[in-house]
């Protein structure tokens, strides 16, 4: 094995003290020199196992090799073969569980910084104005595709199918596109200009974006297919329904779901109030319940909104936290206080209905539960009160029920997730596909994109074979009817005339398949009966 520098090339970050009050992006990204240095750490394995760790199978080894040679445009082209949203994935993918976890350097040395390199390439491409194919594609196919939800799953399906020449429409319930990329992930982690650029790129591919349409309310899936003539629908509505704790005091003022808090801050720009009209509580001491990516986003937003203290309150320990390593470390650097093994049991309010505290109990970890993580067990007598004026509940989300509730025959599981084939995204309704959090429950951007990729392939397959399938069905019905007619009603003369005049049935593709089937059915009877 050649000698490889054991550590990842550092990515410059803005100073924690300075960034605590700023919404500008925290990580500044690699310079050209750093990117090349990092890419040179890659062993260019014959069998690049890192690629198996990527849900959309980006050709990692090849793009990294291009970077090592300083050919960034080439690297971008390689990535775009598999991933249309690299600037986003390079920032938000949990690489330590995916590609980088597979890197052969690991665990003896740091894995190659694949996420950072992907981000570098995408940013280089954007700032050098070579943002992929910008010319509008000729829309060469007739079948219209409707995509419900403009999050990562929907954007992926749209881009794949638009490139195949399908007219694609994306329907979004909100007034801005991107789904969780827009309302969920904060500006300092994923600048919205990047999301805008990717959406512009899709518009250039010919994708139609329609906002303010709530599929299931404004228009149902049935109506999309029957009245608006869409041949296939992809449902990527996400896990949009927030989970609350159902403990006393939860509806006090100042207690938000992570969805509401982040939507106010990110989508509605509440941090710029009163320049923007939507307000949000400016906290002094914030408590965020949960320890996943969303919780880190919420607590870091609370600090940027002016909180002197931002707490993460989690009933398990540091080990079980769900957050990406990078964001966890950045939160720590920004002074977030982590209260592990702490379970809130009640919210305390003041006389005006504002939250003023959190009654908690300490826990210890017992046996693993069904999630495989050790179950937190409250320690009797360890109750204590924590002072707070802003609480964000970041315990996950349930699937948004709007589409399943209004679509007849769409099967859901006991959690309300749409049941879809993991390989194709096909649902119990013909022509309706689903993927992303609405199928899996809350997961990651890249997994949603992986599901979108598979669904796009399956939709293309379905639409290509659909005419043949429909014709086969018409032929089958015609044949049954012809057979029945010949058996029951036709006189021998009629049969002979029909068969003689029809010539060879079943050869001519232009002939109506039902009629071809009918003749074949008749011929069957004729053959059985022998020459009349």
């Amino acid at each position: 094995m050649p000698i490889v520098y054991p550590h990842k090339t550092a990515m410059p970050c803005r100073d924690p003290e300075q960034r605590r009050r700023s919404w500008d992006e925290v990580a500044e990204g690699y310079t050209v020199e750093r990117a090349i240095a990092e890419a040179r750490r890659c062993l260019t394995c014959q069998d690049p196992v890192c690629e198996q760790g990527c849900p959309v199978n980006v050709p990692i080894r090849d793009f990294v090799r291009h970077v090592a040679l300083g050919d960034f445009a080439g690297a971008a082209q390689v990535i775009r073969r598999r991933n249309l949203l690299p600037a986003i994935c390079g920032r938000v993918c949990p690489v330590e569980h995916q590609c980088e976890a597979q890197c052969v350097l690991f665990p003896h040395q740091d894995p190659v910084g694949i996420g950072r390199l992907e981000r570098f390439v995408a940013d280089w491409e954007r700032s050098n104005g070579t943002g992929g194919e910008s010319a509008a594609q000729t829309l060469c196919r007739d079948e219209k595709i409707a995509i419900v939800g403009s999050g990562p799953a929907g954007l992926t399906v749209a881009s794949d199918l638009a490139q195949l020449g399908y007219p694609v429409t994306i329907f979004e319930a909100l007034h801005a596109f991107g789904g969780v990329l827009r309302y969920g992930i904060p500006q300092y982690r994923l600048p919205k200009e990047i999301v805008d650029a990717d959406i512009e790129h899709l518009k250039a591919l010919g994708v139609e974006f329609v906002r303010d349409v709530i599929i299931g309310k404004t228009v149902t899936i049935e109506q999309l297919m029957d009245e608006f003539d869409y041949s296939a629908v992809f449902v990527g509505t996400g896990a949009g329904s927030p989970i609350f704790m159902n403990i006393p005091g939860e509806n006090l003022k100042g207690i938000y779901s992570a969805n509401e808090f982040l939507t106010r801050v990110n989508l509605m720009h509440a941090y710029s109030f009163p320049e923007y009209d939507t307000p949000v509580r400016r906290p002094r001491r914030a408590a965020v319940i949960g320890a996943g990516d969303t919780a880190m986003d919420a607590v870091r937003c609370s600090i940027r909104l002016g909180a002197e203290e931002g707490h993460i309150v989690y009933r398990r320990s540091e080990q079980e936290k769900g957050a990406r390593a990078e964001d966890y470390e950045r939160a720590r650097d920004e002074g977030v206080i982590f209260d592990w093994l702490t379970l809130p049991v009640r919210f305390l309010g003041d006389e005006n209905g504002w939250v003023r505290g959190l009654e908690c109990i300490r826990t210890e970890l017992g046996e693993p539960d069904e999630s495989g993580r050790r179950r937190p067990v409250p320690i009797p007598g360890s109750e204590f009160t924590m002072e707070t004026d802003l609480v964000v509940i970041a315990l996950g989300t349930n699937p948004n029920p709007l589409v399943p509730k209004t679509t007849y025959g769409l099967e859901v599981d006991r959690h309300g997730c749409i049941v879809a084939d993991p390989q194709t995204g096909a649902t119990s309704r013909e022509g309706v596909y689903a993927g992303g959090d609405i199928v899996t429950g809350a997961a990651t951007v890249i997994l949603a994109m992986g599901a979108g990729r598979k669904a796009a392939t399956a939709i293309h397959e379905y639409l290509q074979h659909r005419p043949q399938k429909a014709q086969a069905e018409q032929y089958r019905r015609g044949r049954e009817e012809g057979f029945a007619w010949a058996c029951e009603f036709a006189t021998p003369e009629e049969l002979r005339n029909l068969v003689d005049n029809a010539g060879e049935p079943g050869r001519d593709e232009d002939v109506d398949p039902h009629w071809r089937g009918f003749l074949a059915g008749v011929a069957e009877v004729f053959d059985d009966a022998g020459p009349v």
Binding site: D212, T220, N251, D277, P279, G353
Partner: protein, 278 residues
Amino acid sequence: MDTTARIIDKRDLTDITKLFVVHAPLVARNAAPGEFVIVRVTETGERIPISITDFSRAEGTITLVVQEVGRTSALVCALEVGDTFLDFAGPLGQEVLLPDEGHAVLIGGGFGTGAVFPLARELRSHGVRVSSIVGARTRDLVILADLLGSESDELHVCTDDGSLGYRGFVTGRLEELLDAGAGFTHCFAVGPMPMMRAVARTTQRRGLPAMVSLDPLMVDGTGMCGGCRVSVGGKSFFACVDGPFFDAHLVDFDEADARLVTYKEQEDLACEMAGLGR
């Protein structure tokens, strides 16, 4: 798909209350009584919910009644015929479940009268007898009485100062009618929180089933944020997808009142900056 929502008619109901007829065929095609829309009027603006007062699938129109109560509603009220909404999303919420028989009393307080109107027409088409009570502080603030009256078997107008109709609150008139043996089987009330709270109290005491339409703060209006949660019968519901109509006797009005003024300070500041008196 065209989502344009253009104002084709505007009427002043009071100095601060406007009626808009909006051409929005996509929203009108699936609209039902009890639902609402979410609108936005500027790029930096809020999303606010507005009850649907009337809809016509044939004409492709949605009628809204808007009262200036804050910065965003003032911006909406300033729109004129020919203007389009920046965003106009809906219909949202759950269609209100209406009875198929009996005698319903509809109560509208202030601009809430706009939100009870579509119920009147629907109830009558079900064959339900409809009595309506409309209340306001004073004569000039009574709105939509004629419109609601045209879809009601009886109409009762109340003003706090007695300048028109019954002198007193809508609940006073409701009690009178009940005492006179009106035989109401259902009540639907929309108006300011104190009015709906009073209707809830009166109807509960008199054993009359009642529904009220809650109007909590909302952001997305699609069940995504939970900001509009209300306690009904000790359970938490999202008004945007589970409501907006709820059983009046089970609503926790104290909590709903408190949550409504979450951003009072910021709203006052925004109004001040926009030069609006409050």
